[in-house]
């Protein structure tokens, strides 16, 4: 096993993955050119970059649409998830009903609900895609928030009891701030799921204005470098959402030394 000295370790942690990525990209480029791989199989990185450059306005517009869908779903789903958790924390019945449901929901392909929503709402509505994202976001946020709200350290409970404090003052002072790191754990997970759901929901039909539909249409017209360009945009969007959530977490829970697992 190679040993990296602690000083070099930190920079290695950043440089190594970058080095791997650069090496992989180069190898990819060389491989495609050398073996004359047809684009339907694997376009060269240079071709993808070129397609991105040539189609920037369309890519940006599609990204904006998918981004908006993901954002609306993320916000609504998280708010609902936290509210439901606050209620569930006090009601054992609700907890026992919703937690197994959440486990089941995480096993099911929620994006498959997209065609159902397309029939329930008009075909020109934003709502089906946003609703899919909302549901996908709700469950992880709910589960993690319930976990956070139920975990009060016994010493804190004793302390507040010794102060003759209970009820809302107790919740405000101890339960809610203690739950915040857990809520963000759920939110981090949900932010990536939101983008994935927003993109994939379009594969099932409905309004075709986002990245998902562009990918399928480019692929079906055999414009593979363009299709990959849209995929790259989708990946960047996912990354942006995840990073934004990380930043928000840092701001809201400055006392956390590392992200809550």
């Amino acid at each position: 096993m190679s040993r990296l000295r602690s000083g070099a370790d930190a920079s290695a942690r950043v440089l190594l993955p970058l080095a791997f990525a650069v090496a992989a990209l180069l190898a990819w480029e060389v491989f495609v050119r050398a073996r004359d791989i047809p684009p339907f199989l694997l376009p060269a990185p240079s071709a993808i970059f070129e397609a991105l450059r040539a189609n920037t306005p369309q890519v940006a517009s599609a990204a904006r649409t998918s981004g908006a869908n993901a954002l609306v779903g993320l916000v609504v789903g998280s708010v609902l998830g936290v509210l439901a958790a606050v209620v569930a924390a006090r009601s054992r019945l609700l907890r026992e009903a919703l937690l197994p449901l959440s486990a089941a929901a995480s096993a099911m392909p929620i994006v498959a609900l997209a065609p159902l929503f397309n029939t329930m709402f008009t075909s020109t509505s934003d709502v089906p895609r946003r609703l899919v994202v909302t549901i996908v976001v709700f469950f992880p946020v709910f589960v993690n928030a319930v976990r956070g709200l139920s975990q009060v350290q016994p010493v804190h409970a004793d302390l507040l009891h010794s102060y003759a404090v209970s009820g809302w003052a107790f919740t405000r002072t101890v339960r809610l701030p203690g739950a915040l790191p857990h809520v963000f754990t759920g939110l981090r997970l949900a932010s990536s799921l939101a983008v994935i759901a927003a993109v994939v929901a379009e594969y099932f039909g409905g309004l075709q204005t986002g990245l998902g539909s562009r990918i399928t249409s480019a692929a079906s017209s055999s414009a593979y470098p363009r299709a990959w360009a849209y995929v790259t945009a989708a990946c960047l969007l996912g990354l942006a959402f995840y990073t934004a959530t990380l930043l928000l977490e840092r701001l809201a829970t400055p006392w956390q030394t590392r992200p809550q697992r």
């Binding site: 804190h156 010794s162 003759a164 003052a169 006392w255």
Partner: protein, 282 residues
């Protein structure tokens, strides 16, 4: 500047004892039958007195402390604090409490942690700020007012917890092995600090510990308990002139009188039917 006589038990009876425990029994019903955690415990702590509870695991010392704090209701018996019921004393915030783990709220700064009871009980911002400054100076952590608990060592966190326990100037301090998680050197430093602080504030203290040396160093009286069922086996008067030892800064732990008291406590512990497992008698 008071002398050691003020520290011994108030025999005149003109003032109510700080804590009065009469006939307290506690039984816990577990899945496997019931456990008599405490049986018929009588104890009195005079004002300004420092009393330690020591005994093997299962002797009920922590349970007794929690009963005095009204965190647990006894199956029988009565507890009075400053003449009121324990329940009323808790509602009136008559005591400050410190646990083995500091229990600081990680999301608050040190200053905000110390002012926790003040804020919860409706003190204004200016009042809180002034009091926090006082308290942090008392425990020697003034420069750390805006630090977070995660940045502090265990000893420092406990000092914050003690400052917090003193926030409302309680006449009674309840402490459940607050130094148990610390290393020996830090522990000895903290013991000296606690003596100094409780002397300056003239607080009565009920202190639970595993360590004979700690009990002898800190207390006016050491209450030795035995297990199964939990009860008071013996009470050892220390009478080392506690106030003087803290002031003089002498190395009391080396004095012959100290060893004498330690021996007495150890004998009391061994003499009991519970034996002495779980007691640190170094």
């Amino acid at each position: 500047m008071s002398t050691s006589t003020a520290r011994t038990a108030d025999a005149s009876g003109t003032r109510e004892p700080a804590v009065s425990v009469r006939g307290v029994s506690q039984r816990f019903d577990t899945g496997r039958g019931s456990v008599q955690a405490l049986q018929d415990v009588d104890l009195e702590i005079a004002r300004g007195e420092f009393v330690s509870l020591i005994g093997p695991s299962g002797c009920g010392k922590s349970t007794l402390l929690r009963i005095v704090a009204d965190l647990v209701e006894p199956t029988a018996g009565e507890v009075r604090i400053n003449g009121k019921s324990a329940h009323q004393a808790r509602l009136d915030h008559d005591y400050g409490i410190a646990f083995q783990s500091a229990g600081l709220l990680e999301w608050r700064t040190v200053a905000r942690n110390v002012e926790l009871p003040l804020g919860l009980h409706g003190a204004g911002r200016a009042e809180r700020r002034a009091r926090v400054e006082e308290l942090l100076a008392l425990v020697g952590l003034s420069e750390f007012a805006s630090a977070r608990p995660s940045e502090l060592s265990g000893g420092m966190q406990q000092r914050v917890a003690i400052a917090r326990a003193l926030a409302e100037n309680p006449s009674l301090l309840l402490m459940d092995e607050p130094f148990g998680a610390l290393d020996e050197m830090t522990r000895e430093r903290m013991q000296a600090e606690l003596l100094r602080i409780s002397a300056e504030s003239s607080t009565s203290v009920l202190f639970v510990t595993h360590s004979i040396a700690e009990a002898v160093y800190l207390s006016d009286r050491v209450v030795v308990m035995s297990a199964r069922p939990g009860r008071i086996a013996d009470v050892v008067d220390i009478g080392l002139g506690r106030h003087e030892t803290a002031e003089a800064g002498a190395d009391v732990r080396e004095a012959p009188a100290f060893f004498d008291r330690v021996t007495r406590v150890r004998a009391a512990l061994r003499g009991g039917p519970g034996g002495h497992p779980g007691v640190d008698d170094r």
